[in-house]
Amino acid sequence: MTSLILQTASKLIVPLALLFAAYMTLKGHNAPGGGFIGGLCFAVTLILLRMGVGPEVFNRMVPLHPRVLVFVGLAVAFLTGLVPLLMGYPFLTSYVTDLQLPLGASVHFASALFFDVGVLLVVVGTSVGMILRLSQEVEA
C-alpha cells in the first residue's frame, strides 16, 4: 500500500531527517543527543521510507538485514572501548583533540564518537528489525 502523497513527501523528508539524525549524533558529545537519539531518528526515517516506497523497493534500496547492523554496531562500540585498554588506559577512555582544518577552523573531536556510531547502528538495527518483523506479519 503506497500513496502518491506519502511517496512525494518522503522524497523531501528522508534526506532532511537523515541530516537531522547525523546532527543529533554529532551534537551528543556534550549536549542532549547522541547515538541513541540519532539512531532512533535514523530508524524512523527508514520506516517512513518503507511506508512511502513500499516493501519491495525498500528491500532493494536497503539490501542488508537490520540484524547485521546490531552485530556490526556492537562490534564497533566494543572495539572503541578495547583500543584504550591496549594502550594502558581504562576501558572506554575517550581520546579528545582539536583537529585543525584549513582556513583556521577547528573541530573538537572525541574518539567516543565511534562508540556513539556503534550505538546508532545497534538502535537502527533493533528498531527497524522489530518494525519490519511486525509489518511482515501484518502484511502477510
Partner: protein, 536 residues
Amino acid sequence: MINHQIILFMAIPLAAGLISVTTAKNLFLSRLIGCVSLGGMVTMGVILLWLSHRDDVIYVSQLGNWQAPFGISIIFDSLSGLLITAASTVALGAYIHSFDMLEPDIERRYYHPLIQLLIFGVNLSFLTGDLFNLFVAFEIMLLASYALLTLGGTRKQLTQAYKYVLLNLLASTIFVMTAGMVYGMFGTLNMADLARIVHEIQADPDRELPTGFTALSITLLLVFGLKGAFFPLWFWLPDTYYTCPISIAGLFGGVLTKVGVYSVARTFPLIFAVGEGSQLIILIIAVASAFTMFLGVLGAVSQHEIRRILSIHVISQIGYMMFGIAIMTGWALAGCVFFMIHNMVVKCALFLCCGAMEKHAGTDDLDRLGGLLKRDVFLAVLFFIAALSLVGLPPLSGFFGKLVIIREGWPYYWGTLSIVGLLTGSLTLLSMLKIWGYGFWNPTPKAHPIRTDAPTVKRNLKAAYTGIVFLVGTALFLGFAAEPVCQVALRAGEQLEDPVPYISAVLRIDPDVLRVSLEAPAAPQVTLSAAAEASP
C-alpha cells in the same frame, strides 16, 4: 598494571558472544569459542585472586577514566573474585554438559551467544561498584536468561517464562525507582561514595540519616530477595527451573540466585544496614533466612521428581547464606562467601547428574527410576560425592561453610537459627538419600522397566560426564584444599565487615584519613578534595 585488565571479565564474554553469532551455524567452532572464553575467565579469575590476595590489594578500574564518584567503577576484591571464578567454573561445567543435552537445532538458535551474554551480565553484577550499573547488569543477565529459558519454545516453558519475565520486570522497576530515590537522597550512586556518606553521617552525632533510608533499604531487600529467592519471594523458582533444558537449569540454579544474595552481601553491610534501622533489617533477614532454610528443605523432602527436589533445594541453601549475612561478623560473612561458591558448584553438579539420569531412564520421576547403580556406577559415584557435599559431610566442601556460619551464630541470640540450620542439614541428607535410594539403590520398578540400552546411553554422554567430573572435581578441591580458599574467603569477609579498604580503594582516599572521618564522632568533616590532597 593489572587494574584495568579486570574489564576483561566483561570483554571476553562479549567478544566471544559476538564472534559466536557469526559462527552460529558451525557447532564445533561455537563450542570451541565458548569453552575458550569460559576457561579463560576461570584461569584469569584464579590468577587475579591469587595476586590480589598475595599483594593485599583491591583492583579498581574507572571506566572511561572518569574518576570514582562520577564515573562507573569496576572493583575486583576477594568477594567479587571468588564469585566470578566460581560462576565461570559452573558455567564451563554446565556448558560442556549441554553439548549432549541440547538438540543441535536448539543450539543453533543463538544458544552460544546467549550463554556468553548471561555470563557477561553475571560478571558485571559481581564487579560493578555502582548501584545503577548493578541494575543494568541484572537486566543484561535477565534478558539472556529469558531467551535461554524459552529455548525450544514448548508450551510449558513459555507459560513459566511469562511469569518469570513479569515478576522480574516488576522487580527491576522497583529497583530503578529505589536507585532513583537513593540518588535523590545522597546525590550519588557509587557504592563506595554512598558508604562513605552513610558512615560519616552515622559517626557524627549532630547529623541524622535522611528519613526513609530504612524504607529504601527494605525496598532494596525486596528486590534482591525476589532475584535471590528468599522466603516469601521464592514462589517463582521451582516451576521455572523445572521446565527448561537441564544444563541451563543447572547453570541458573547454580549462578542466578547467588547474584541476588551477592547483592545483599555487598550492599547491606556496606551501606544499607548501617544506622538505626539496621536492627530491623537484620531481624528481617534473619527471620527470612530461617523460613527460607526450613521451608525450602521441607518442600524438597515432599517432592518426588528429581528436578523439583533440586530446584526447591536451591531455596533452602539460600537460607544459609542469608543467615551468614544476618550475623554480619567478618567470620560469618566469610562462611557465607565460602558457602556460596561451594553451593554454586555442587548444586549445578547435582542438576547435571540429574540430566544424565534422565538420559538413562527417560524421566526424573523417582517412582519410575531405579537400578541406576548397576547401569552406571560412575554416575552413581559422582552423584554420591555431590550429594554428600551438599549435605555438608566433612571433609567435603559443604561442611566448612556451614560450620563457620553455625558456629558463628551459636553464641548470640542467633542460637535458634543455628538449630534451624542443623535441622535443615539433616533434612537435606534425607532428601538426598531419597534420590539416592529411589534412583540408584533400589531395583528398577517392575511396572516401569527402563528400556534404553545402557552402553549406548553412556557412549552418548561423554561431554555430559566431562562437565559433571569437572564440577565434582572442583567440589572435591574445595573440600580437601579448603585452606587456601578459606583464606581468600576470610579476606572477603573482612573486606565486607570493614568498609574502609573498599572505600579508600575506590575513592582513592588515604585509609587513615578516611578511618578518622568515619569512626571518630568529634572529628572534623573530611571533604573529598581535602582528602585527595592528603593522600600521596
